[in-house]
């Protein structure tokens, strides 16, 4: 099945055309940094160590659209990169761990976005909210570390 994806005409063209693959890779890095950076600032604000003078609700309202726009582009570009070498990537255990971390991080980000209006109404941001923000940060850092381990340990990428 993954070999079939890899052998599709347009996937082969993408994989063998330098400038096309470069555009996809640049999009992936750019949107990945943009997504993680935006959510990280919200997490740090929830934890009380960034932009303390700005209201949490307002900061979240400003940054969450960028989190999700960037996330969607990172997923699409990531899938395209995966497709060009799908047969090798699909069985990689470390790649599975990376994807699991990303999925968990995205769920936690959605949860934080949903909870921010409640936290913002309280006199003090609850401790469990700060713990959740820390979990979010650690999951994104985990995603990056597993992404870096795929080429290091499995020779892919």
């Amino acid at each position: 099945m993954w070999e079939a994806l890899e052998n599709l005409g347009w996937v082969k063209t993408l994989g063998s055309t330098g400038w096309m693959y470069s555009i996809v890779a640049v999009t992936h890095y750019l949107t990945m940094f943009w997504c993680i950076g935006s959510i990280a600032v919200v997490d740090l604000r929830v934890m009380g160590i960034a932009a303390r003078r700005r209201s949490l609700a307002e900061l979240a309202e400003q940054l969450f659209p960028w989190v999700w726009i960037a996330f969607v582009f990172a997923i699409i570009s990531g899938f395209l990169m995966f497709a060009t070498d799908a047969g090798d990537w699909a069985p990689s255990k470390i790649f599975h761990v990376k994807l699991t971390f990303i999925a968990a991080a995205a769920v936690v980000a959605g949860l934080i976005q949903w909870l921010v209006p409640r936290w913002a109404q309280q006199a003090k941001i609850p401790t469990w909210a700060k713990v959740l923000a820390l979990v979010s940060l650690l999951l994104w850092i985990g995603s990056i570390i597993w992404a870096s381990e795929v080429p290091a340990l499995e020779g892919l990428g």
């Binding site: 640049v26 990945m32 950076g37 932009a51 900061l59 400003q62 659209p65 960028w66 570390i145 870096s148």
Partner: protein, 161 residues
């Protein structure tokens, strides 16, 4: 000049952190993690300001406020990028200085984008007083985004040379 650079690169490769980055299979991903985590914070905060200057997205805070409130983490992010980047460079410094994509990245795009960013960040205090930003601010913000795209493009090309 070139000889000095090569001598410096050779010295870096022999330093304990240069050796560690190059020879341990665990160190390299961790150093890359430092570089990428810093890049996320750096570019995330840069783009938040640039997009506000462009007038895209939430306009409840002015660009001057956004610049001010993100200033500290913006530069913490940069310090992390620099730490990770320096360690990555130290591992294979002689190969990097001979790499044409790396030369474009560090010799041209990074200094240009960095200087541009400092100017945008400083000018945002004045451009960002009101809800609507002047045309020059939008031009400067868009240019900054394009400059960082040039930096990433050059970086992505490094393994191809």
């Amino acid at each position: 000049m070139h000889d000095t650079l090569v001598a410096f690169a050779k010295w870096l490769e022999g330093t304990p952190w240069g050796l560690m980055t190059r020879e341990s299979i665990w160190a390299y991903p961790f150093v890359q993690l430092i570089h990428f985590t810093g890049l996320s914070i750096w570019l995330g905060t840069n783009f938040a300001l640039d997009l506000r200057l462009l007038g895209v997205g939430s306009r409840r805070a002015t660009a001057a406020q956004v610049a001010q409130e993100l200033f500290v983490w913006n530069w913490i992010g940069f310090a992390i990028v620099l730490t990770g980047g320096f360690m990555l460079f130290s591992g294979i410094a002689t190969a990097f200085i001979g790499n044409i994509a790396f030369q474009w990245k560090l010799g041209l795009f990074v200094p240009l984008a960095l200087i541009w960013h400092v100017v945008v960040q400083r000018k945002a205090r004045e451009w960002g007083q009101t809800i609507d930003t002047p045309g020059i601010a939008r031009f400067a913000a868009l240019t900054e985004i394009l400059l960082w795209i040039c930096v990433i493009t050059a970086a992505v090309q490094i393994p191809n040379h």
